[in-house]
């Protein structure tokens, strides 16, 4: 092993560390995850395996034969066509061509489509267009095709939506009013998600991805759990992914509970049990990246939380491994040395069922 290894900071900057410094960073990242989520750490053997993965000499690394897993996505095919804001490539091509290219040229295990805003609220206004596109693509694709969208409850608050904005109310001490606004928005969001899900189901939807759930906090996660349950009761054969926005559920409401479980502050190993209870088929934990810490620190932290989540899950777990989550640096053109190492570590140490 070299005396100094190229690795990166959480913002993507390339740095050099000695193997012992990397091991020390991993130990600290793991300890931070254990402290935050109150879960066991990685074993010394797992830390050594992680050290091997991070210090492998190749720029890109991969899993050994037999350890491959399933790769799901959040609208990546359509990222061929979008713009910089979403890490997209700006290629002038249609949605159909993008999805088929993703399936056949890139050999993706599953593919997906979604509205360019990737939020449920705008989907409702153009649902007929989305239904038409989904239906046509479901006839053309061979691999599973998801429809993905973010609950994104923030769009339901003024000035973008009808409900008073809790961020305006809370600084004025109007806590009850802020909570009531979130409860009202959650009810509308849930209704919209169920409406869209049922319409897609009628069009033959194979899988529905609630992506970045909880981005507006605990009330949004509450709406997502309710909607997922209603859709699975309506048709158990439409697969559902619930993917999270961050490692713990933000307490924007603070007191909202789902069937007796307070949602604020839940970490992935508890989130997954609720997702499982409402019928979700796949759960996607999102572990935050600290840009001021190193890649080894962030990856060890993510692995500690993912491993515990997988251990407690009765359903497949596909960690979200995009920019800024699960160890991947916060850099739009994500460094492939970190991405491939995170993928390998999540497969071998996190025991993930997919990514």
């Amino acid at each position: 092993m070299s005396d100094y290894i190229f690795t990166r900071m959480g913002d993507g900057e390339r740095i050099q560390m000695s193997p012992s410094e990397i091991r020390d960073e991993m130990q600290k990242g793991m300890e931070r995850a254990s402290e935050l989520a109150r879960i066991p750490g990685l074993s010394s053997d797992e830390i050594e395996l992680l050290l091997e993965i991070v210090t492998e000499p190749g720029r890109v690394v991969s899993v050994p034969h037999g350890h491959e897993l399933i790769v799901t996505d959040d609208g990546m095919a359509e990222c061929f066509t979008g713009s910089e804001a979403d890490g997209c490539s700006g290629i002038s091509m249609g949605r159909h061509a993008a999805v088929l290219a993703y399936e056949r040229a890139l050999a993706a295990d599953t593919s997906s489509i979604g509205h360019s805003d990737y939020s449920f609220k705008p989907v409702k206004a153009v649902l007929e267009v989305e239904l038409q596109t989904y239906h046509q693509l479901s006839q053309l694709t061979t691999a599973p095709l998801f429809y993905g969208s973010q609950p994104n409850m923030g769009q339901y608050f003024q000035p973008d939506g009808p409900f008073p904005n809790p961020v305006d109310l809370m600084p004025s001490g109007k806590i009850k009013a802020a909570q009531a606004a979130q409860e009202a928005a959650a009810a509308q969001l849930c209704e919209d998600m169920v409406f869209i899900g049922r319409e897609l189901n009628a069009m033959g939807c194979e899988g529905f991805n609630f992506d970045t759930a909880g981005s507006t906090g605990d009330a949004e996660f509450y709406a997502t759990l309710k909607a997922a349950r209603q859709l699975k009761e309506y048709d158990p054969n439409m697969a559902i992914i619930i993917g999270m926005a961050s490692e713990f559920v933000l307490g924007m409401h603070g007191e909202i509970a789902f069937e007796g479980h307070q949602l604020a502050g839940l970490f992935p190993h508890d989130q997954v049990k609720l997702a499982e209870s409402v019928g979700a088929d796949i759960f996607g934990p999102a572990i935050n990246v600290d840009t001021s810490k190193s890649f080894p620190w962030n990856l060890a932290k993510a692995l500690t939380m993912v491993k515990e989540t997988v251990a407690r899950a009765g359903i497949p777990v596909h960690p979200n491994v995009g920019m800024g989550v699960c160890g991947i640096p916060m850099l739009l053109q994500v460094p492939i040395d970190c991405v491939s190492r995170a993928a390998k570590a999540l497969a071998l140490i996190g025991k993930a069922d997919g990514l």
């Binding site: 890109v60 690394v61 991969s62 899993v63 034969h65 037999g66 491959e68 897993l69 399933i70 790769v71 996505d73 990546m76 990222c79 979403d86 890490g87 997209c88 490539s89 399936e103 056949r104 040229a105 890139l106 050999a107 993706a108 295990d109 599953t110 479901s138 006839q139 053309l140 694709t141 061979t142 691999a143 599973p144 095709l145 189901n201 033959g204 939807c205 194979e206 899988g207 048709d235 054969n237 439409m238 796949i282 359903i315 497949p316 491994v321 995009g322 920019m323 991947i328 739009l332 994500v334 492939i336 991405v339 491939s340 993928a343 390998k344 999540l346 993930a352 069922d353 997919g354 990514l355």
Partner: protein
């Protein structure tokens, strides 16, 4: 999020099963429709295909097998099975219900 080369392409190369290039789609279906964890889903698919689990990502095994079964490949021949026809055969092969297949079959039946 992240650029397509950096994110999905790298994940697929580093750790993916390979979709319809091998048997990734089949394993994915079992996770989606039966909530199977990865090892169980691979074992189920291998059993249905009468191959070893290690064969599921072996191009030398899966490409001819997919052609033989008519369940689509990444290099389709003109007029060959792909899309909903291939998916319909996948549903029968794996013994699962695929919503899009169910819908088209119900339309053919009326």
């Amino acid at each position: 999020m992240g650029d397509p080369f950096g994110m999905p392409v790298t994940h697929i190369v580093a750790a993916g099963m390979g979709g319809i290039r091998t048997a990734g789609d089949l394993v994915a279906w079992m996770q989606m429709t039966r909530r199977m964890k990865l090892a169980d889903a691979k074992a189920y698919v291998a059993d249905k295909l009468s191959v070893d689990v290690m064969d599921l990502v072996d191009e030398d095994v899966m490409c001819p097998l997919r052609k033989e079964l008519g369940i689509g490949t990444v290099t389709p021949e003109a007029g060959g099975p792909e899309g909903i026809l291939a998916k319909s055969r996948v549903a029968d092969l794996l013994g699962i219900e695929i919503n899009s297949v169910k819908r088209i079959r119900s339309q053919f039946a009326t």
